[in-house]
């Protein structure tokens, strides 16, 4: 018996996690990824990593300071965040986020201060306007590896918890089969690290001397993330196609009929392959590899959040989504990007991020 069903009247639920959420997950992921890239120089003291780690520290701070703004904007009334602390439901992953974010950002700020103290002192010793302020912030300018390591552990714990909660928060939404997969937190994390490497490569070209990847295996690491991205994607697809996991099969069945989703999947896989190829075969095109990795990290989150919410839970077909031009859409994306650039410029202007090279300049 052939049946055809056409929905005539129904409600369309709007996207309720707005592009602000995409921006938050993108930026906080980049911040966590960048923080991890600071460790080889500032904690492990691998000289080859100095350039990359210093750029990564800038990225971690700029993204980390911007991300919560996007999150607050998604609450429609930013002061509502107080309720997260006044009435926390500790059974909710989102509630834990309200504690993990300050832990991570507090740890990151402490870590950044400790690792930059010697450079702040050098800047103060050079003299000029602001020398007094730099001297005060340098607080003696000691290079204490022990204290740095303690702060790094604190920030690392915060980073791990942020990575965990952002993934779990989405993964536990069983009402959306596309989100309800243990691969999601893994994919969030891998793409965040890849995006962070991409950001370091872009910053290296924009404000560095273009040598951040030298001797660091940065490109090899980027290639490894892309292999993992493809492997996780293939595993998800395999579970869905074979029906080994009914949940994954259900998710695949929801999106497979859509041409837009098929194009998106091909685009994502193609981007990963292109990044991999550039990272392995054409290190001289590392800027392109970095830009594609950044784009992939953002696009993955956009597809998961905005695309995922276009899949009705009970209705037929898909909900339409047209990016609004206002604060709930394009203006929010551009505004967050603008804030990120402003914070970055501010950090570059006031911090001795480049170490001795900057202090001598």
């Amino acid at each position: 018996m052939n049946t055809s069903i056409v929905e005539v009247v129904n409600v369309a639920r709007e996207v309720s996690w707005l592009p602000w959420a995409v921006q938050y997950f993108f930026l906080i992921g980049l911040s966590v990824g960048c923080f991890l890239l600071t460790l080889p120089w500032f904690v492990l003291r691998r000289p080859a990593w100095e350039r990359a780690s210093r750029l990564a520290l800038l990225g971690a701070l700029a993204c980390g300071l911007t991300a919560p703004v996007a999150l607050l904007a998604d609450l429609h009334q930013p002061a509502r965040f107080l309720n997260f602390y006044l009435h926390p439901n500790l059974g909710s992953w989102m509630a834990w986020g309200a504690f993990f974010i300050p832990l991570y950002l507090g740890g990151l700020a402490l870590y950044a201060w400790l690792v930059l103290r010697p450079d702040l002192k050098r800047l103060a010793d050079i003299g000029g306007r602001g020398a007094g302020i730099y001297r005060a912030f340098a607080y003696g300018g000691h290079d204490s590896l022990g204290a740095t390591r303690i702060a790094a552990v604190l920030a690392l714990a915060g980073a791990a918890l942020v990575a965990l909660y952002t993934g779990m928060e989405v993964m536990v939404v069983s009402a959306r089969p596309l989100w309800d997969t243990p691969f999601l937190p893994v994919q969030f994390f891998i793409t965040a690290v890849a995006g962070a490497i991409g950001l370091v490569l872009v910053l290296d070209r924009a404000i560095g001397d273009g040598r951040a990847a030298e001797g660091t295996h940065l490109l090899r690491l980027l290639a490894a993330t892309q292999v993992l991205v493809l492997a996780v994607g293939a595993a998800w697809l395999l579970l869905g196609v074979t029906g080994l996991s009914p949940r994954h099969a259900e998710a695949l069945a929801q999106v497979a009929p859509s041409a837009a989703w098929r194009i998106t999947a091909v685009w994502a896989a193609g981007s990963a392959l292109a990044t991999l190829w550039l990272a392995v075969r054409h290190p001289e095109w590392r800027l392109a590899a970095g830009l594609i990795a950044l784009h992939s990290a953002w696009m993955m989150r956009w597809t998961i959040f905005i695309g995922g919410q276009q899949i009705p839970k009970t209705s037929a077909g898909f909900y339409d989504y047209h990016l609004p031009l206002g604060q709930d859409g394009l203006l929010g994306i551009v505004g967050t990007a603008g804030l990120w650039i402003a914070v970055l410029i501010l950090l570059i202007s006031v911090l001795p991020w480049a170490g001795q090279r900057r202090a001598q300049a």
Partner: protein, 246 residues
């Protein structure tokens, strides 16, 4: 004691009126909050629904639901199928609303405990506490929640709790032209809801939406076509309100 004795004058009657009103309301509130006393639920007899959307409109009017948002709606479908070699087309209607689940997925995810299940089974949102994070909107397996554009907070059907607490029926039930919506107390063995459920259960006619979700909904259906029990496989709506009012 006759009414004449109680209200000897108009002045006395008017003086007594607030006390009478409070006296009627207080026991209802107390009763609805008492654990196990009531367990409100709804039975939708799809066979009796004519798709007039009177419930949709009355809900909007009763609850001041913003333009193009809906706490309840009658989903309407055109179904074309071959029966005995002939192509037959018909209309299928399905009233949808919050299912006031016994295991509501929207409750545990709320980061601030703003959404909760009352002792009488009604799932509500504390508008003062809600931060509008929309986590509950994502978690609801029925797409029954939305962000109210007037308040920026989570919104949903409350079974018209304010009316139920005052001893009234939900607005959608009150206005249902075909008598398709039956509201009542699952704990009341003599109530119409319980009797209708028991009678239909014997014929194995009771269904719920998405039983596999584990949410254990309290909106039950008679005449629910299995093709509409989960996500509907078909062509998307020809008309869907999506743009919210300015």
């Amino acid at each position: 004691m006759s009414d004449d004795t109680l209200f000897q004058s108009r002045r006395a009657f008017l003086q007594a009126l607030p006390a009478i009103t409070a006296g009627v309301a207080l026991p209802m509130n107390t009763a609805s909050a008492a654990e196990g006393k009531h367990h409100w639920a709804m039975l939708v007899d799809v066979r009796k629904c004519i798709g007039c959307q009177a419930c949709t409109v009355s809900c909007i009017m009763e609850n001041a639901v913003p333009e193009n948002s809906f706490r309840t709606i009658v989903s309407t479908y055109t179904v074309t199928q071959e029966v005995d070699g002939k192509t037959v087309a018909g209309t299928y209607v399905l009233p949808r609303l919050c299912n006031h689940c016994d295991n509501p997925p929207c409750v545990p995810v709320c980061p601030v405990n703003a959404t909760f299940k009352r002792d009488d089974g009604i799932v509500v949102v504390d508008g003062y506490r809600c931060v509008g994070c929309a986590y509950c909107v994502q978690a609801c397996p029925y797409d029954a929640r939305f962000i109210n554009h007037d308040t920026g907070k989570a919104d949903k059907c409350t079974f018209c709790a304010h009316r139920v607490d005052a001893g009234l029926l939900p607005a959608c039930v009150e206005t249902c032209v075909g008598g398709a919506r039956i509201f009542g107390d699952l704990n009341d063995p003599k109530g119409e809801l319980r009797r209708r459920l028991d009678a239909a259960k014997e014929a194995d006619a009771i269904k719920v939406l998405k039983p596999e979700s584990g949410a254990r909904p309290n909106v039950f259906y008679i005449g629910l076509d299995p093709r509409f029990q989960g996500r509907v496989e078909g062509q998307g709506a020809l008309w869907r309100p999506s743009e919210h009012g300015a």
